[in-house]
């Protein structure tokens, strides 16, 4: 699915959803949100390491008003971990949001648009069976 990426200066460049090459899970650390992103393959991890920067994640979640986003690399697990500081508007006890603990962010980040790799590279980033359908 190629959709226009509003963040890209070249609005017509083809993009993919992060969810095509990775899966994710999120939760809270006090008032901070923690989002783990794991690539389906090692090729996908290298692509994420190059394109899924802390800045890119901060921009995607601008609505959370995080004070800072930090990225940690776990090449042993083909994964990145993101800490979004003060993203939960008070955290589990005080956040007025329905998602007080940031549990939805792992599902949301799968819709983050990334520049589309060449088709043969994309194939090497996608999971084998069972099928990985768009969430």
């Amino acid at each position: 699915v190629n959709v226009p990426n509003p963040h890209d200066p070249n609005q017509n460049a083809p993009t993919i959803r992060l969810g095509q090459i990775a899966h994710a899970r999120s939760g809270d650390k006090g008032n901070h949100a923690n989002i783990g992103v794991a690539a389906h393959t090692h090729e996908g991890y290298e692509y994420l390491a190059a394109h899924l920067s802390a800045e890119r994640v901060a921009e995607f979640f601008a609505g959370l008003s995080s004070s800072r986003v930090e990225r940690f690399e776990l090449p042993n697990l083909d994964a990145l971990n993101f800490l979004l500081y003060n993203a939960l508007d008070g955290g589990a006890s005080r956040s007025p949001r329905i998602d007080t603990q940031g549990k939805l962010l792992g599902t949301a980040i799968l819709e983050l648009p990334l520049p589309s790799p060449a088709p043969e590279r994309l194939a090497a980033m996608q999971p084998e069976a069972p099928s990985q359908r768009p969430a």
Partner: protein
Amino acid sequence: VPLDVSQPLRIGNAAGFLGDWLDAPRRMVESTPVDFLTLEYLAELTLSILAHQRAKNPEHGFARDFLDVLQSIAPALARQRQLHVVTNAGGMNPLACAVAASRLLVAAGLADVRLGAVLGDDLLEHFDQLSAAGCDWRHIETGDPLPVDRSQIASANAYLGAAPIVDALAQSARIVITGRVADVSLTVAPALHRFGWKWDDWRRLAAASVAGHVIECGAQATGGYSVDWRDYPLANVGYPIAEISLDGSVVIAKTAGSDGAVNRRTVVEQLLYEIGDPRNYVTPDVTVDFTTILLDQLGDDRVGLGAFSGKRPPDSFKVSLAYRDGFTASGQLLVFGLDAVEKAHRAAHIILDRLRSIAMQPARYHVELLGAGDAVPQVSQSASFQSASFQSASFQSASFQSTSLQSATSPPVSPRREAERSRRCTELILRITAFDADRAKIERFTKEIAPLATSGPAGLAGYAAGRSSVRPVLAYWPASIPKSLLKPHAVVRSAREWIDRQGAAQ
């Protein structure tokens, strides 16, 4: 019977929070022989809720779900000599929990079973002495001083480590009931007890801690909360079992004959869950480096983990403190129709105008239009979500006008954005959340939702559930305390002795 340390120790976790699936522990022990069943009930703020319950009734203040679970596994405890239970169900009252559990065991004919209660995590009863001893309760991250005095603190508990649980096991406890203990220490302690590892064997302590981290949230390691939810059934989801060996290798498995899955994907998702800085995952027993761990799919629903590394943990325990910080309530209404977004803003406006007119406006409020993209602020409005969900939508634009509703916490309402989503959304849940130091203002807020049924715009429903309840706000404040100031310990007695001596001093 001497324990065979050549066999892996099997630790299954069948509760990941207070409210988790009540049948999971019974299904696990009935179908899969485990040496230890762990049950994890305490999230960051659960203790302050339990403290509130204990204040109202000195026999309460623990996770009562545990009693239902214990009842359901009592037959297995009677039949399976190897089966032990380690749980933090004690919450704010491990002694009362031990007595209640003992009553149940005696009734089930298990009066000789030994129960250990782990004590020493509750800091509130010694708060002034600890303060005098130099504990300053500063925020563990910001260094800020605690903004309230003693009278506003609802609970203060240290995250204890494995030591007092090992102490209880060494005294032949088959059931160990703790208060605030680090979640992973529920797994580390049985391994330390079984294998006799040294307390500075950082690699093996890291192995058991990682195993504990993978299983501590229950089915989140076995296919629960996974993007692969279409790929396997979940109704009879298995809960995770860590098989830990003497040499510190770990295999993750699950309840035999169950739904769900254990594979690289389910285990990696849980490894990453809430870990923060993966090079410095701090527990009371060991600081773990997650960037060396390697995974290997060993077979169906079996994943091996290895290459662990850890180092000496800090000389202080983390403290979870909660203080009372006013009151809150949330009210909801279903809003239906082509102009649902505009109507929801108007409805919220009416509620807040009525409160303002009698000087009862809450100090802080937040408006969410659930179903119109507010569940994750702004993100679900992004191009990718729109194309996925709304490509075929062809609603006529409502003649939207901004009602300029703003709150202290919401981003400013953009008329253009509201007009855009108004075109796409024809039904939503309006959710308003209010905060104030004055309980009366929040009480009044909860009474202003239902009147819109007849005095607001047409197309509202969902008020039949009645007024929402007012909750005290408990602010979470992480701090730390030198380990040398605390003396965690365990009291171990048979079920019969717990009942005979209830009320007696520890």
